[in-house]
């Protein structure tokens, strides 16, 4: 079963902001090719980094999610934001392969 989970405007506070461990949030949309290419990479990372970071996806195409997209000033996707203790500590824009991304994440986790 996938360890990547979907968040919504209703669950964002509890599952991201108040999370005990860092959460990487993938702001994505179904019509974004590179976003869909990131999906298998994130699935693999959710397994290899299990316990260190949680990986969540927020579909910015959902009208109810656009306030969060605006709040976090999303203007380019995939936008991957790493939340620690409720605040964004690092952001990554655009597709990146697994090993390179894992290495970038290791520097901040």
């Amino acid at each position: 079963m996938s360890q990547v989970f979907n968040v919504t405007d209703a669950t964002f506070e509890a599952e991201v902001i108040k999370s005990d461990i860092p959460v990487l949030v993938d702001f994505w949309a179904p019509w974004c090719g590179p976003c869909r290419m990131m999906a298998p990479v994130l699935e693999e990372l959710a397994t290899s980094l299990s316990g260190k970071v949680k990986i969540a996806k927020l579909d910015v195409d959902v009208p109810a999610h656009q306030a969060l997209a605006m709040q976090y000033r999303i203007q380019s996707i995939p936008a991957l934001k790493l939340f620690k203790d409720g605040v964004v500590v690092k952001e990554f824009v655009g597709f990146r392969p697994k090993e390179a991304f894992e290495s970038e994440l290791a520097d901040v986790l």
């Binding site: 090719g33 590179p34 290419m37 999303i74 203007q75 996707i77």
Partner: protein
């Protein structure tokens, strides 16, 4: 079993998963040439194109859907297609040794380079800091965030035109800025843009700086437009062409032209025995660099490699 780090030597390794590499894979499979395909962007850069409407038989299809159909078509024949970024290629003991991000290794007798091109950046101050905060290299990905806003597209090629056409249906205002005296894109796209009342085409102008701290606020031109050299803009889409991904070729001694494109013969062979090239990375097809020419070069390369392996 891990496909990497075995003693196996594939007859052919194709590096690149765009139209050239996947077309080569389809033909290689049909010729019975065992091979592996390795690349980090399944379907290649065409996946980020708004629409494909100049590939024969495909009247109109989204770039992402088209790229995924290429992947599915090649995969249907059973060759492994590995979604990995190649970091190094060397020749050792008569075999090509291809290393991927993370350290995995593949060996092959023949090598087809189909690694395409990478987008050019403007190279302006703050360009990288503003990426994701107004600056974008992918209109289809990010145009949505600029609904009813003002955007600027830089470039005069078909990619720039395609981006401007796409954005004209979303943004309130689109300005296309090109340094040349005349655009280089197809007349049919030019006509569409001229007929869109919310599109301005500004010729003979360069964007020389970006204004904005946390987010892009304006671009500055080297010549005034409508009385000012500062154009307020919410989004900037950079479509100024691309350069070949030929780092591996250089390391292997493959001959390139002055622009860095791999020199190939009509059979897609390079000057190095066992190394072939196809697609946007080559100087073939009169450097037209279209999906249709990339696919054709991939097919020709597969035929040449099949014949070479049979010798």
């Amino acid at each position: 079993m891990d496909i990497f780090n075995t003693e196996k030597i594939y007859p052919l390794a194709i590096v690149g998963t765009g139209p050239a590499g996947l077309s080569a894979s389809i033909y290689a499979s049909r010729y019975g040439v065992e091979h592996i395909v390795i690349g980090h962007l399944p379907g290649g850069q065409i996946s980020e194109t708004h629409e494909i409407d100049n590939y024969p038989g495909v009247e109109s299809m989204g770039g992402f859907a088209f790229s995924q159909s290429l992947v599915a078509h090649a995969a249907k024949y059973g060759a492994p297609i590995e979604n990995k970024m190649v970091t190094h290629i060397a020749k050792e003991d008569g075999a090509f040794v291809i290393t991927v991000d993370g350290g995995g290794v593949i060996r092959s007798r023949m090598l087809l380079l189909a690694t395409g091109t990478k987008r050019r950046i403007l190279g302006l101050d703050r360009e990288s800091e503003l990426l994701g905060h107004g600056v974008s290299y992918c209109a289809t990905c990010d145009g949505f965030f600029f609904r009813n806003r003002t955007v600027t597209v830089i470039g005069g090629n078909n990619s720039a035109a395609s981006a401007a056409v796409f954005l004209s249906g979303i943004a309130a205002k689109v300005r296309l800025v090109y340094r040349g005296a005349a655009v280089r894109f197809e007349e049919c796209q030019h006509k569409i843009l001229r007929e869109h009342p919310n599109v301005d085409i500004i010729l003979g102008a360069n964007v020389v700086s970006l204004v904005g701290q946390d987010k892009l606020e304006a671009v500055v031109l080297d010549v005034p437009f409508e009385g000012s050299d500062t154009l307020p803009t919410d989004g900037l889409f950079i479509e100024i062409g691309s350069d070949p991904n030929t780092d591996f070729a250089r390391d292997l001694g493959v001959g390139m032209d002055e622009g860095g494109f791999i020199k190939v013969g009509a059979d897609m062979a390079t000057n190095v025995p066992g190394i072939y090239a196809a697609g946007d990375i080559t100087d073939g097809s009169d450097k037209f660099r279209q999906v249709v020419t990339a696919a054709a070069e991939g097919a020709i390369a597969a035929r040449t490699i099949h014949a070479a392996l049979a010798k």
